[in-house]
Symmetry: C2
Subunit: 471 residues, 2 copies
Amino acid sequence: ISSNNEYFYGIKKEWPLVDHTEGQLFLNDTFKIIMEEVLCKGTDIKHKVCEWKEPKELALLLDLELRATGEPQHRLLQRVQDVAKYSIKTSHPRFMNQQFGGVDYHALAGRFLTEALNTNLYTYEVAPVFVLMEAEVLRGLRQLVGWTEGDGLFCPGGSASNMYAMNIARYQHFPEVKSQGLCGLPRLNIFTSSDSHYSVKKGAAFLGIGTDNVIIVEVDEGGRMIPDDLDEKITLAKSQGAVPFFVSCTSGTTVRGAFDPLDLIADVCEKHKLWMHVDVSHPVYNTNPCLLTSFCCTVLDLLRKCHSANATYLFQQDKFYDLNLDVGDKSVQCSRKVDCLKLWLMWKAVGSIGFAERVDKAFNQARYLVEQMKKREGFHLLQEPEFVNVCFWFIPPSMRGKEGMADYQDRLAKVAPVIKERMMKQGTMMVGYQPLGNKVNFFRMVVFSPLLTQKDMDFFLDEIERLGKDL
Amino acid sequence: ISSNNEYFYGIKKEWPLVDHTEGQLFLNDTFKIIMEEVLCKGTDIKHKVCEWKEPKELALLLDLELRATGEPQHRLLQRVQDVAKYSIKTSHPRFMNQQFGGVDYHALAGRFLTEALNTNLYTYEVAPVFVLMEAEVLRGLRQLVGWTEGDGLFCPGGSASNMYAMNIARYQHFPEVKSQGLCGLPRLNIFTSSDSHYSVKKGAAFLGIGTDNVIIVEVDEGGRMIPDDLDEKITLAKSQGAVPFFVSCTSGTTVRGAFDPLDLIADVCEKHKLWMHVDVSHPVYNTNPCLLTSFCCTVLDLLRKCHSANATYLFQQDKFYDLNLDVGDKSVQCSRKVDCLKLWLMWKAVGSIGFAERVDKAFNQARYLVEQMKKREGFHLLQEPEFVNVCFWFIPPSMRGKEGMADYQDRLAKVAPVIKERMMKQGTMMVGYQPLGNKVNFFRMVVFSPLLTQKDMDFFLDEIERLGKDL
Ligand SMILES: Cc1ncc(COP(=O)(O)O)c(C=O)c1O
Ligand SMILES: Cc1ncc(COP(=O)(O)O)c(C=O)c1O
């Protein structure tokens, strides 16, 4: 890429590299495709949730290659159409593959506005509305959990939030770590349950603490951390010369949806003077990716002290407004996307009562699903669900009543992958499966979109039966 | 929030918590507001770039409070309107405050589609189109810099990319760091120039390396790292028992837009066997926030080895397709937003030639601006720009020719903040200022939106003169 003298100083007339009229027309047409393909067809049970293609075939269909010259608008619109067509319809009532799904139109409107405004959330100067709005949303969230004070910010996801928490806790224990690093410090230890999310280990590796220094605490039969085991492991770690500093509890574990007993764990943390962190990265519906995650701590100003770099090009001290409004130095990132608008608009639209109703509805649907499972042969629950995660095995007809057989577990382990392959290739629905500890592959249905009806639950069970009946 | 028995098992009829028709109507109306307020008025020089309000007044106007009950659609639309009205118009030709701005309609269309699809980029199963597309865009980017192989991924910003690079380099030097952490390792040293971005220090703190272990290398008069100083500081660090492992160079520094001499630095890195990282976080236009940033390394599979946690609930080994397509374990995050679509669509629209033309245009406008400055009294360049950053002082009439005065620098330092306050309160334009080293506050105009014309450059200079003529 080199500068071309022909164009120098406008000798050649200034050409419009971006034509607003043409551009807005294109955006308008794209919006229509989004409405039609993603939001109408994409949420309609008469249409598939996915259009499975083998990677090679899909690459050919999409013609992904990037070339030297551009393409005309109608080709580009066709591309928009293709991307929509072959992408998974995560708003579809049959998409139950992950811990997100469904669509909330107010949230989506907030997301479109966020993208169009293209704001960078670091100073009041460039983000006046969003600096104030983020503070208000965080206040509202704290209120939901009964806190009257605290600090926080939206981070790009639950993994990032967990890392922020570890870093803040480490800084509180050893403020010198910010300037001097871990070299010379004793070995630090983190505690979390065997059912916690893998981001705790990833975070520990990233922060230079190391995965071996994440001590795994045992869980009870429901997947909840056992406080006594935590206590013992902390004592053991101390006796071995390590410095325990952080306990990561989970409220709603990834697979089983279990809630660690926070009160009892708090006592243990209090006794040993450890930082207690609660990972509640279960997404508020339709906010993931970029999960709704606020990091809250009671120690005011710790976020800023821990992360500040005082860059003079952004956070000038001679500004004409209150510098506390320049929140950018609280985060590890520099540029930060606006994540509060979608939640704020949704909250304004339905109110806290509306949120409560949605949660109720999700719980009720989960209960309904469980009841129906119990009425059918072949569905075997992993455990009674504590939350909206319903984990179960499907036992195909040929295997029923043969639990005693030597290869039973091996055969059962192969059932979920085959049913999953079939549903994806037929595009009828998507649901996740995984093994856990010594439990072989089981399905995990996370029920939390308010769009889901009892009919959807019935379909879900029928479809698993249909896909697995010959296995 | 508690479950309510009244609704239990559908005793009360199933109520549609989300009404698709109503929701789509709302989205449609929001889209119209976005078009009108953000994209038409927001890019029109007849309208203001910002509507300055004091924080207290703005908070009142916006009525941010979150309540128990929801609001009717017309109130919500008014809120959308207000958010748009009081937000900074970053696409406006008079917004030159940061290193982003302008609007590209193809990129924006890609962003809307991304939001509507709400895809989580971790497995081929949920993100078939985007797994393939990201690989293609990264290939295209590598090709632009002349690399035939490598690995990479899109991260949420330049700061995150710099941290990824540090972590990978550390892992390459000491693979045991992933499991054992930094405890027991010697002190690690990072080298970067005094003009590099503050994210290098923030990253070092976050990764447990410590800001004191970021050794600052001197720059020449143009703001470029001095390779000889780097060489000497590496040798010195080694003699003091530290282990140098990482050099972070910058191609296009944040303030001055300087390019570190990569060839000479590469020789130094080669000699000492250090990892050489190049921070090119200058945004491709309209991609920030969530800057376009790909992390590339020549050592294939290092990303995966360094970051993998092998979570069985996402990355099952018994899937029915090629598991290399499940890219999620390469990242530190779990959920990852799709960042490639906007760039891919823009690239398809204009081609690499179109990118080159835009870069040319930006360079030409920057040169034009510099030429015009030289013709006017009162504009004093910090240096001849190497890139599209034009840094300058405005010397108000009352101070001209008085460089010898004792309080000259103190007075000059106060000029930019006052002009800045005035432009914001009048809403006529936005441009950034900062001090640097011993240089007092100067303006930094980053010219890179292809939307900018020579008329905009002339206006910029006229406006600075108008706002500062009485100082
Ligand atoms: C309990 C828990 N914590 C953390 C995470 C990670 O969040 P993210 O994917 O936003 O990084 C998840 C993701 O599923 C989770 O379930
Ligand atoms: C040279 C350089 N590196 C890194 C960054 C940080 O990037 P981000 O703001 O995306 O975190 C910036 C931001 O301005 C930058 O100019």
